[in-house]
């Protein structure tokens, strides 16, 4: 491949910009400290309280916490300002342990300066042996600093060896290759998104590099998540809740119920779904029950959709005799969903016409991020599997259905059947998402009209298409109904009501509280972002499940509602607007977008009433809301093309997508939930932390 001089020049510029940022911004502390005169703090003057001292300045903690005093700093600095302290220490017995924050020395700094005679407390600082930059403590006193006191505590181990303490130390330049690569990518994106970029002028796919862009984008979004998953010991070794593994074992044995025996006390309960009594009895008898499984007629069942088990877990178990970790189907589904979203957006863009490639790519990222996949990759457990598989099948089903339509008005039967199969399989993952199948009536409205208005030959042709459309549904439905019937005696009973969880799901409570809370949380909850790593915390208090004091219901943390975190949804109302001069494709897409939005909202309301308010349930409806919003964005772009407004609109969409990325990217390192990276790989977590918290 021939590389032009112009391309090379641009590439060098991008690399130089990234290099400049890496050295001048992310290492500015190193540059700042270049001008300092280092002062060595005599180790014999360093007072250690609650420590036993050994040779070579090795200290052993003899209480829960120890204290280090650095006194007489004013004299040692000789009138100069103290800016930092370098603690050249090592933690000899701080070995890495799984499933806990490990190898960390926590320092609580207290400072006596001209403005604080009785100590000012600063935020705690974490030191890890293998992260040199963590050993530099930057301080800014109110006037001259007299004394620094460090409260010391260890996550594990008790030993600390002090090699040297330096005041106003020169912090070395820490060149992070990963950060540098990320900066190159970001600079390239900035370059690619500028107004004059070829990506804004073409529909894409014209050149080889353009065709590879989506794959590169997919790698950029999914590979870091995959890396963090496989580096997280917590996920690879200690996930207890494995319903799909148990289901695979049961199915391999030719059973639909689990092998585990149900305790006698549970079988004797009048209402085994009442958690308040169940918990008491479990404690009294000392016999535990299987949490979050369906219990029916003396047997445990898995109420999660069976399709992921049949596709991933059962074949693996049968072929290898071992279980597939949940992370693999989730990663597979994430990749497939990304590809499906890109193809669907591209398909819609082609039908609209003149949609720039940059916009298609941005919308792909916005939809992919917005449909909770970053969250599932942070929490890749069994709960995520059916939901993400439901999303995967939905997006591919819709794409295949759209592909099945030809310009001649005929439908490609194979694609139609494949689309139907995907949409039918959705019901086997998340039954409620099967509602999206009704979109077929909108997509194939013209074909359906032919059944009534067409000629005999047309009707015959349509009937064949109807057959191709319906056959996968019939087959999948037959399988699912049989599965339901043998489990719960009814072909329509998916077993959700028999769940042993926090609330009695066998009794449905319809409540205005739930509806209001659900709408507010799912759509409008503002995220809680902050300026300290990991930059996001759980908005609100997940325990406020009966805020109006009328009822109790299942409510977990919600990180952010769909609208504030996916601002492109603000354009969604435009799909409901009517335009007289719209062409057939535009009208059809608007109808499709509007129907998708209506079904999604309906699903949201059903979810709040039937299940509660849980972040992962957002995925049930976010995907289609975002696809509808993408249609709105592309139609608006087409409408404004060539006017003064086009550039403003372009800027607005870029800003909206950046806001979406800034919110969702935090899921990569978010802690505070199950399987935190902080516990699964403390070293990696703190390396990421210090890569961002560079000052």
């Amino acid at each position: 491949m021939k590389i032009s001089a112009d391309f090379l020049k641009k590439l060098i510029l991008i690399v130089l910009a990234a290099l400049g940022l890496e050295v001048l911004v992310f290492n500015f502390r190193a540059l700042q400290s270049l001008f300092y005169r280092e002062v060595s703090y005599p180790l014999e003057e360093c007072e250690m309280e609650y420590f036993d001292e050994y040779d070579d300045h090795v200290f052993k903690l003899k209480a829960d916490n120890g204290v280090m005093y650095l006194t007489g700093l004013e004299e040692k600095m000789d009138g100069r300002t103290l800016h930092n302290v370098h603690l050249d220490i090592s933690l000899p017995d701080a070995i890495d342990m799984p499933m806990v924050e490990t190898g960390i020395l926590t320092i609580e700094p207290y400072m006596r300066d001209a403005g604080h005679d009785a100590y000012a407390r600063l935020a705690e600082h974490k030191v890890r042996d293998d992260i040199p930059v963590s050993k530099y403590l930057w301080v800014s006193g109110a006037g001259a600093i007299k004394t620094l006191t460090f409260g010391l505590s260890f996550t594990n181990g008790k030993l600390i060896q002090i090699h040297k303490i330096t005041l106003n130390a020169h912090q070395p330049v820490c060149f992070s290759v990963w950060r540098f690569l990320l900066l190159i990518v970001l600079c390239s994106m900035v370059y690619g998104m500028r107004k004059e970029s070829v990506l804004w002028k073409e529909e894409g796919g014209a050149t080889v590099w353009q065709r590879w862009l989506p794959a590169a984008l997919g790698c950029l979004l999914i590979l870091p998540a995959a890396y963090l998953i496989f580096q997280n010991d917590y996920l690879t070794s200690s996930v207890n809740f494995q319903p799909y593994h148990e289901l695979a074992e049961a199915l391999a044995d030719g059973r639909v119920y689990l092998t585990e025996e149900v305790p006698q006390w549970l079988q004797e309960m009048d209402n085994p779904y009442d958690d308040t009594l169940r918990t008491v009895l479990a404690e009294e008898t000392g016999q535990d029950f299987k949490w979050d499984y369906a219990y029916f007629n003396g047997r445990y069942y898995v109420y999660f959709g069976i399709v992921p088990c049949l596709l991933f877990y059962l074949p693996t178990y049968l072929m290898l005799g071992t279980h597939m970790p949940n992370t693999l189907p989730i990663l597979f589904a994430a990749i497939a969903t990304f590809a499906g979203i890109f193809l669907l957006i591209r398909k819609i863009a082609r039908r609209i016409g003149n949609v720039p490639y940059a916009l298609q790519l941005m919308l792909t990222v916005a939809v992919y991020y917005g449909c909770q996949i970053p969250f599932f990759l942070n929490q890749p457990d069994a709960y995520a599997v059916p939901v993400i598989c439901g999303e995967m099948f939905t997006v591919w089903g819709l794409y295949l259905w759209m592909c099945a339509k030809t310009r001649k008005g005929r439908l490609k039967k194979v694609l139609l059947a494949a689309g139907s199969l995907c949409m039918a399989l959705v019901a086997g993952c998340r039954p409620n998402m099967a509602l999206y199948s009704f979109l077929a009536f909108v997509l194939f409205a013209d074909e359906l009209k032919q059944v009534v208005q067409g000629t005999k030959e047309e009707k015959k042709c349509v009937l064949a298409q109807v057959f191709c459309f319906a056959l996968p549904y019939v087959l999948v439905a037959a399988g699912l109904m049989y599965y339901n019937a043998v489990r719960f005696g009814s072909p329509f009973d998916f077993g959700f009501a028999y769940n042993l969880t926090t609330q009695d799901t066998s009794r449905m409570v319809w409540s205005l509280d739930k509806l209001w809370a659900g709408i507010c949380e799912y759509l409008f909850r503002l995220p809680d972002l902050t300026y300290t790593f990991p930059f996001m915390s759980i908005a609100g208090d997940g325990t406020q499940k009966n805020l109006f004091a009328h009822t109790v219901f299942q409510m977990e943390y919600i990180f952010g509602g769909l609208i504030p975190c996916n601002l492109i949804l603000l354009l969604l109302p435009t799909v409901f607007s009517k335009k007289k001069d719209a062409d057939a494709a535009e009208k059809e897409l608007k109808r499709f977008g509007a129907a998708a939005a209506v079904i999604a909202v309906l699903l949201m309301l059903l979810d709040t009433q039937l299940a509660g308010v849980v972040y992962r349930y957002l995925a049930d409806f976010s995907l289609l809301l975002l696809v509808a919003a993408s249609i709105a964005v592309m139609l608006c772009h087409k409408k404004l093309a060539g006017t003064e407004a086009a550039n403003i609109f372009r800027c607005a969409i870029i800003l909206m997508c950046i806001a979406s990325v800034l919110f969702h990217v935090n899921f990569y390192w978010l802690s505070g939930l199950k399987y935190p990276l902080l516990w699964g790989n403390t070293g990696l977590y703190y390396r990421i932390r210090y890569a961002f918290m560079f000052w």
């Binding site: 604080h116 930057w138 209001w516 503002l526 972002l529 300026y531 009328h550 407004a645 000052w695």
Partner: protein, 698 residues
């Protein structure tokens, strides 16, 4: 005439619609309960625990923390198979009395429910019953099947005696028509109608007559200010003399001819080596307000007020001298809020008219409202505090000063500025410095405004120029002389406003500027996302800005609610105001300032400087936004006018109009919440819970 009759029809329709909404939506519980069969729960069946029973339903609560439990058992039998939907608890609290500083006259009830889904009690959130607010007596339940037992775990705000007059199950709720709520719905409907795309308000060509404009301006003023007046009138908390009262103390001192306060600093404080060190004061056992005056300037054995003296000279001192009593902050801030609205309206009209001729009147209305809200005045009026007085007063002077300056230059070419307006403008801008010294920066806005008069290209005569310069400078000189004298007699320096001698959380005599506070300050002031919930009062106080979040140093910080970019979307239009505009022939001008809106650029630079100065000198506190937010929004609206002009005649105009409406609506929702988080809950508990149930109608 036909048009008028059409308008009346629409208003009548909205009135009907708001009535329907009032009955069908806000009284949904009353409608719902119409189908219930009410059952009185027998008083003798109430089982009390931790409560002594007396005759006539009187109980004395004896449990821990003054709590008592009332068991309603056998509900299944009492209800005869019906499901329990609500209970009506009629209470009497004989010992209750209204206090101005605490939530009072209430019983707090926590419900425990045993139903078919919860054999071991489900716990519901605590609810408040206030006997004089009927809606609080209805406790609604959505239970898991039939209810077996209910427990009312009760505590009282005052005393320990309560009387249960009756408990009714599935009680029919009476319809409650709230005129306030109906008015709100009506006003919102009218506003939405007025802002629809086809409205005359969006038609720039139509213009608007003077009388009509006055009418609209007054209506808008009432809409913006009425809630603050209404909420404060019955709020004893803001009326009571229990707060920080520096201006009142300063008025007393000035009336006696002294710049320092009458109160003598304690010997213990005077004995401290560094009295400004909060940690040292605490270590010495000194208690704020008992052993020393918190948040006052202490200098050489005397207490001073470090707040700007101008509000005291203009409002507090005359009032004290004339009446012998003190004026409350609430009246001062309501008065200043009214002046601020008028100033913002006039300034917006003047600035936007100049920025782009023939803009729709809706712009003027939306701009005035959002700039007013964005100045954080709603929070200041809802919870009046002496700290807000100098800031708001300074802003009022800045806004009026800028307006008068702009008006003074509205003259035909060749004529000099109108001297009287110029003098008044300069006087106001100078007085702003006497309120908040950092607002001196806004005086630099004079340069772009008066730049044409300073040019020596022959357009203006030397005499005109000199007159303008003198008219500009004299008020500054006079006010500066007064302020310098005031500073001199207090702190021995003409430029020392005494800010450093403040007895507060940090020692301001020690300067400590570092990167953290800049990062944190910019985040808090510009980017912070507010914490909003779905239950009254909807806005939650954000966590304290983490002033030492990075562990490098300490500085002054207090809670923040929301940043400018997040809560005032119009600020997103600022880049358009700062962009170089194309000439009529489509070419862009060269030079740094050529083709740019210099006043907008100047205001923006000043506002950014104000923001950074506030962060560097003072710290991070939500109230400091008043110093710069309104001017940011004004620049945002200038940008909006630029965009509007660019989009005229294109399909994008409708989208942009939609954006402006959504931006203004969000601004309204966010800033209105400040009225709801006021201290009304303490100052007038009854009114608070009436308001609570007006919004929490289900």
């Amino acid at each position: 005439m036909q048009k008028m009759s059409g308008l009346w029809k629409i208003l009548l329709f909205f009135l009907l619609l708001s009535t329907v909404i009032e009955f069908a939506v806000f009284n949904c519980r009353a409608l719902q309960s119409m189908a219930y069969r009410e059952i009185s729960y027998p008083a003798e069946k109430i089982e009390a625990e931790n409560a002594d029973v007396y005759e006539d339903g009187y109980y004395v609560l004896t449990g821990e923390n003054g709590r008592g439990q009332f068991y309603l058992t056998d509900l299944d039998d009492v209800l005869q198979g019906a499901e329990l939907k609500n209970i009506r608890v009629e209470l009497e609290l004989p010992q209750a009395f209204d206090r101005p500083d605490l939530e009072s006259g209430v019983a707090k009830v926590q419900l425990y429910v045993r139903d078919e889904g919860h054999d071991r009690y489900a716990v519901l959130e605590e609810q408040v019953i206030r006997p004089d607010v009927e809606a609080t007596g209805y406790l609604w339940l959505d239970t898991y099947g039939k209810v077996k037992t209910l427990v009312l775990d009760t505590a009282l705000s005052e005393g320990d005696i309560l009387r249960i007059k009756g408990i009714r199950l599935n009680s029919g709720k009476t319809f409650s028509v709230s005129p306030v709520r109906m008015l709100c719905v009506f006003v919102i409907l009218v506003i939405l109608y007025g802002l629809r795309g086809k409205s005359d308000l969006w038609n720039a060509e139509n213009g608007i007559s003077g009388r009509k404009e006055l009418f609209y301006a007054l209506l808008l003023g009432i809409f913006l200010l009425l809630p603050a007046f209404a909420l404060n009138m019955t709020n004893d908390y803001v009326m009571a003399d229990m707060h920080f009262r520096p201006y009142q103390q300063l008025a007393e001192a000035l009336a006696e001819g002294r710049p320092y306060l009458l109160e003598e600093p304690s010997a213990a404080l005077q004995a401290l080596r560094n009295p400004y060190d909060h940690t040292a004061r605490e270590a010495a056992g000194l208690v704020a307000d008992a052993d020393y005056l918190w948040d006052m300037a202490y200098y050489q054995g005397k207490y001073y007020v470090y707040f700007g003296v101008v509000p005291c000279l203009l409002l507090y001192l005359p009032w004290y001298i004339l009446t012998g009593s003190h004026i409350q902050e609430v009246y001062v801030l309501l008065f200043l809020g009214t002046l601020l609205y008028a100033g913002i309206y006039l300034l917006c009209r003047s600035v936007l008219d100049q920025s782009a001729r023939k803009i729709p009147y809706a712009f003027q209305l939306l701009a005035s409202a959002t700039v007013f809200w964005g100045s954080c005045i709603t929070g200041c009026m809802a919870a009046p505090d002496a700290h807000d007085v100098p800031r708001v007063c300074g802003l009022v002077f800045v806004v009026w000063g800028l307006y008068l300056w702009k008006r003074s230059v509205c003259v035909d070419k060749g004529n000099g500025p109108k001297i009287l307006l110029l003098v008044l403008g300069s006087l106001f801008m100078a007085l702003a410095v006497g309120c908040r010294p950092n607002q001196l920066l806004y005086s630099f806005a004079a340069f772009p405004i008066f730049l044409p008069f300073l040019k020596t290209d022959g357009t203006y005569g030397k005499r005109q120029r000199n007159t303008a310069i003198i008219a500009y400078a004299v008020p500054y000189i006079l006010v500066a002389a007064g302020l310098m004298y005031y500073n001199m007699v207090r702190f021995g320096s003409v430029t020392d406003f005494g800010y450093d001698y403040n007895l507060t959380v940090l020692d301001y005599t020690q300067k400590n500027l570092f990167l953290d506070r800049i990062v944190i300050g910019i985040y808090e002031y510009v980017f912070r996302i507010p914490r909003m919930g779905y239950r009254f009062p909807y806005l939650q106080q954000g966590s304290f800005a983490q002033g030492d979040a990075f562990g490098h140093g300490t500085f002054y910080y207090t809670w923040c609610y929301g940043g400018l970019l997040v809560c005032n979307w119009i600020v997103w239009c600022i880049p358009a105001a700062l962009q170089r505009q194309e000439d009529t022939d489509g070419t862009k001008k060269r030079g740094l300032l050529q083709g740019r809106n210099v006043p907008a650029l100047c205001l923006f630079v000043i506002s950014v400087a104000e923001l950074l100065i506030n962060i560097s000198v003072a710290g991070v506190a939500w109230h400091y936004l008043t110093d710069f937010s309104a001017l940011f929004l004004l620049v945002g609206w200038i940008g909006a006018t630029v965009l509007w002009k660019r989009l005229e005649g294109t399909a994008g105009l409708a989208y942009f109009r939609g954006f402006l409406i959504v931006a203004a609506s969000w601004s309204f929702i966010y800033h209105s919440c400040f009225y709801l988080i006021s201290n009304l809950q303490y100052g007038d508990t009854g009114a608070y819970y009436r308001l609570f149930h007006t919004f929490n109608f289900f």
